[in-house]
């Protein structure tokens, strides 16, 4: 147990305590307090997007741009992995 590990353990404990505390201060599990955005989507998803699945309508319609970002992340990862295992000599 050297100095570094003691330091790490101490600060990890601090962070842990704060995270646990923040869990206590959250709204009760299963009872979200505010609902403006989500309730709107639940009420309107069939009428506005024609999809039954609310999640899909969020993924591809209401927040479609995030999905483009997600697809881009995957594209980036594939390009990166292929690039890293490329042949180095011509």
């Amino acid at each position: 147990m050297n100095q570094r590990n003691i330091l790490a353990a101490a600060f990890l404990t601090i962070v842990a305590v704060f995270l646990m505390f923040s869990a206590l201060f959250m709204h009760p599990f299963g009872e979200p307090t505010s609902q403006a955005m989500d309730q709107y989507i639940i009420d309107n998803t069939v009428g506005e997007t024609g999809a039954n699945n609310g999640v899909t309508s969020v993924v591809f319609d209401y927040r479609g741009f995030d999905t483009l970002g997600e697809a881009t992340v995957l594209f980036t990862a594939v390009a990166s992995v292929v690039m890293l295992f490329r042949r180095l000599k011509k």
Binding site: L7, F11, V15
Partner: protein
């Protein structure tokens, strides 16, 4: 546009106008050039004047003459050795130490901000 370019740059307590500075520079350069012209007449190519000497001795080999960069500022590094050593020890290059610093900063900030 031109007028805007020539406006003075105010900083609150002082100001800064680069064109003035540039003008001053140009004037100084002119003076230096004129002074340089005085010595030009005595300079002759092809004589010993053009060869480099090191304290009167002949120049060494190029490789030997090269001052390596780690030798520069020797006095500075020697004087501040204690702090540089501490900092060097900090930069382990080990990624879990990097994460440790993150956790440390986060812990300190949590203590300061969270308890306020």
């Amino acid at each position: 546009m031109i007028e805007m370019m020539l406006e003075t740059f105010e900083t609150g307590t002082g100001y800064w106008h680069p064109l003035v500075w540039v003008t001053a520079f140009v004037i100084i350069f002119l003076i230096v050039y004129i002074i340089r012209g005085f010595g030009e007449k005595k300079y002759k190519k092809g004589t010993g004047q053009t060869q480099a000497f090191l304290s009167g001795n002949k120049e060494y080999d190029k490789q030997l003459m090269h001052v390596q960069s780690s030798n520069l500022y020797w006095g500075w590094t020697e004087a501040l050795k204690w702090i540089i050593d501490v900092l060097k020890k900090m930069h382990t290059g080990n990624v879990s130490d990097y994460v440790l610093w993150f956790v440390v900063v986060m812990g300190i900030l949590l203590l300061f901000v969270g308890l306020m």
